[in-house]
Symmetry: C2
Subunit: 299 residues, 2 copies
């Protein structure tokens, strides 16, 4: 849970609430309650945001508030293609000493979503859980592959699903072909691998099975910040709601995640996620169905 300053070809915002856990929570809360949030914030994090999250069924006992420090702050500028960005500022602030504590009241959680963060922090959360969740999903990024690969590899052995983007899959595996990359990564621990390809959709791999989910062709991507986290939130939200961790249900969960992400990018920060209704989500999911639906008779 953090603050972002974002500059895109379409506009600029100096300070908006962000952070993986924020996006995951706003997305997942559409599907399942309660969400049991673990994070760390400073005294500057807005009370209204906490109230809003609580109203949506997000429990905050696991969110540590450090009174004399500031929340994590990230500032970035997107290039015209919206696929690449420059980081302008990273102020760790409270995140520098984040030692996550899982409240007793959270024990027994069936589904765990590890947002993109230091793998050491991700590991500490797993280690505190007295009952192993039904499904552990992990997000990560190239930064952790560069500075904390051994720790990352340790966490990989403990999770069920890994989510990375295509360049990260290539970096982690040392393979250019995504099919080969997937095989390599699946041998490192996770049973499922989701490779996110932005505007080109996502791939789900398990053993020799593969599923290709489209991205909705959008007129404009206004702000991609948080799209990956929102995807993760929709994914775990659908899984937690249905309690079905089969390959088939993960395909559906990816479509749900993609639908949520397609809303996220329409406005700055998590703003759009707060506006949409259940009907908006269903309509968007229907658009995905139409987008890829075809009848084939072998010819």
């Amino acid at each position: 849970m953090a603050f972002d300053a974002i500059e895109t070809p379409f506009g600029k915002i100096d300070r908006i609430v962000g952070g993986s856990a924020t996006y995951v929570a706003y997305a997942a809360a559409n599907f399942v309650k309660p969400i049991q949030q673990i994070s760390i914030i400073g005294a500057d994090f807005p009370q209204e945001e906490m109230t809003e999250l609580k109203a949506r069924g997000v429990r905050l006992e696991g969110v540590e508030i450090v009174p004399d420090k500031k929340s994590f702050f990230w500032s970035g500028r997107y290039h015209l293609d919206m696929n690449s960005r420059d980081t302008l500022v990273t102020d760790l602030n409270v995140l520098a000493d984040f030692n996550p504590v899982v409240p007793d009241s959270y024990q027994g959680a069936e589904f765990l979503m590890l947002g993109n963060l230091d793998p050491t922090v991700q590991l500490k959360v797993i280690q505190q859980l007295k009952i192993r969740p039904k499904l552990i999903v992990m997000d990560t990024m190239n930064f952790w592959m560069e500075i904390a690969l051994p720790q990352l590899e340790e966490v990989l052995k403990l999770v069920d699903v890994l989510m990375v983007n295509d360049s990260e899959a290539r970096q982690l595996s040392g393979q250019f072909s995504l099919v080969k990359a997937a095989r390599e990564i699946l041998s490192m621990g996770p049973k499922y691998l989701i490779i996110k390809k932005g505007e080109h959709g996502a791939l789900l791999f398990q053993e020799d099975k593969v599923f290709f989910a489209p991205a909705l062709p959008l007129e404009e991507v206004f702000d991609p910040t948080g799209a990956g986290d929102t995807f993760a939130g929709g994914f775990i939200g659908h899984i937690a709601k249905t309690k079905d961790i089969s390959f088939n249900n993960m395909k559906t969960a990816i479509i749900v995640g993609s639908a949520m992400a397609s809303y996220c990018v329409e406005k700055f920060g998590p703003q759009r996620l707060k506006e949409i209704t259940r009907k908006d989500i269903d309509d968007r999911i229907q658009q995905f169905v139409q987008l890829v639906n075809f009848d084939i008779e072998l010819v």
Copy 2:
């Protein structure tokens, strides 16, 4: 119909038969006969290749043979990502004076596939047809947008389906968003637009409708030469077989084209296309069905 010399990270071949029309014919002949080929070759074009094409139902009365000249020759080297390539040699040879003549025996053709070539040549073929085909499909490339845009725009007004890749769609429309690019291009004449995105699949646009077809995640792309032409051949082959030019059937045709292209890239030149059987094609199409198939109940 031409010769290519190809260098990829996986190997090198000094001289192999190629050319848009060759790939289109080998692909389409799996679905419909006769294929009525229009092209130009030199005395060097192998008689065995002509015999092979004829055996597959490809008529060659429209292929002009220039006895004292050489066939078109292209040589290129692919980069490691296989998405970009450098052209090393382009010898126009017979193509410099290509004046296509539609034989009387070809008149009445219901489906016309205009391979990637000078739009002036494409136009001459359309103008010679006494009965307007049910469907005219046009392939083109950035090169013609740069040196023959007015002629290209004239042909665009006469065709039903345009096929281009994503960067060409952006170049032709001046729009970065593919949704906006499609709207712009559809206002230039074609009723349907297919945007090919290589390993990321393809999009089909008509009015406000859009369809997203995946590409099969492949272990290796051995040689991408001719993949776009093979896609076109599978597409028009399926349409001509079914004689159904609806949006729905075009979706199927794109899957068929994608399946054919996925075989093309497995070996140098059109080699793999000559080996595969009807069963191979059906198996590959089934893989596409599996790849994107999902059941969704609104949640």
